[in-house]
Amino acid sequence: MFDPRMTYVLQLADTCLIHAQRLGEWCGHAPVIEEDLALTNMALDLIGQARALLTHAGALEGAGRDEDQLAFLREERDYRNVVLVELPNSAASPSDGSGGRDFALTTLRNAAVAIWLELLYEKLLDSTDPELAAIAAKALKEVRYHRQHASDWVVRLGDGTAESQARMQAALAVLWPYVNELFAAPGVDGVGPAWKDVEAEWRARWGTLMQEATLSLPRDSALRTQGHLGVHSEHMGHLLATMQYLQRAYPGGVW
């Protein structure tokens, strides 16, 4: 029912949007105030990218839906983000004293997504869709900065104390099976590359980062999540309940 170009743009848009939602959950809770600023600033960039991409997806659909309708008024199955970004900020229960936030997990995921977005946006500079190419050119500068920031933390914590390294290694074990999905979605001729096209480079860069951070890669997993096809984890409904609350409770509400 969807134009494949719209689906392609939505997969990217929703991954930015949901990733930003999780980063934003750190607002007021980060370990230090500088990192509070960093996490929310990166979330802001990603929401900006999602806004542009959702607006474009709405235009491709041609049914009059704007960024807000797409962000807030779809059902779970219509979101096309990868499952990796919808996982909670901690694998532990929120009642264990962590408040449901694990900085190790957030940091690793942030680095993984930033490297991936950087590689995809680089390729999208050559898109035959001029709007998508323009969004990519702007976004590329932003995610490059995110990648630098997140990678520095990965090295600092991985190659840190015995405690920080153990926590990073544990977080990596949680995330690793979900990384497979970053290479799952098909491309659209001329418009955007298959995600598989960035896999080799992503794995090379990730390998270098892990080495620098003295972290060892877990064994590859057979898990193949399908968020990009609309099949989400049990966490997605809870995330949307928070994210969509205002528009559901007060339809059409504006600032």
Binding site: E34, E35, L37, A38, N41, M42, L44, D45, L46, I47, G48, Q49, R51, A52, P130, E131, A133, A134, I135, A137, K138, A139, K141, E142, R144, Y145, Q148, H149
Partner: protein, 155 residues
């Protein structure tokens, strides 16, 4: 319609987040032209998620309303870069206490800035955070005078 007067009015508009510099000096205003329907102003957003973008568009519309109907167009390509900040804009930022970009956008990927404190000109400074109070800045501290300051990141 007096395009020159409109241009002068537009050039006087401060950035809402950093009022020490104007929108034109920051390089956000890409064009002002007359169309059959009135004036068209072309703006380029600085960061994808910059919350000031809509406020800036509103400011421009309000400021030019006296010249007739105004359309504001957001143009994403070519992407805004700090290379477009004018020399005058850089000087004003510096005087306001924000160190202007120290390298071109091209060099920014590998560049680690060595900044001089904009208050005491001391050379021993350290970055406190890669991010700051707005998307375009990072947070620094002068070790010599102890004062914090901001740096306008090159992108």
């Amino acid at each position: 319609m007096n395009l020159e007067a409109a241009r002068a009015r537009l050039a006087s508009l401060p950035d809402p987040e950093i009022p020490a510099v104007t929108l034109v000096e920051l390089g956000i205003v890409r064009d002002l032209r007359e169309t059959g329907a009135g004036l068209e102003v072309v703006l380029t957003p600085t960061y994808s998620g910059c919350p000031a973008t809509e406020l800036i568009a509103d400011d421009v519309r309000a400021a030019l309303a006296e010249f007739g109907p105004v359309t504001v167009t957001l143009q994403r390509s070519p992407a805004w870069t700090t290379d477009w900040i004018s020399a005058e804009g850089r000087e004003k930022l510096q005087r306001y206490g924000i160190v202007p970009p120290q390298c071109s956008a091209e060099q920014a990927i590998r560049f680690v800035p060595q900044l001089r404190c904009p208050r005491c000109a001391g050379g021993r400074t350290e970055q406190l955070s890669r991010f700051g109070s707005t998307p375009c800045k990072s947070t620094w501290r002068c070790i010599e005078c102890g004062e914090p300051f901001e740096y306008f990141k090159s992108i």
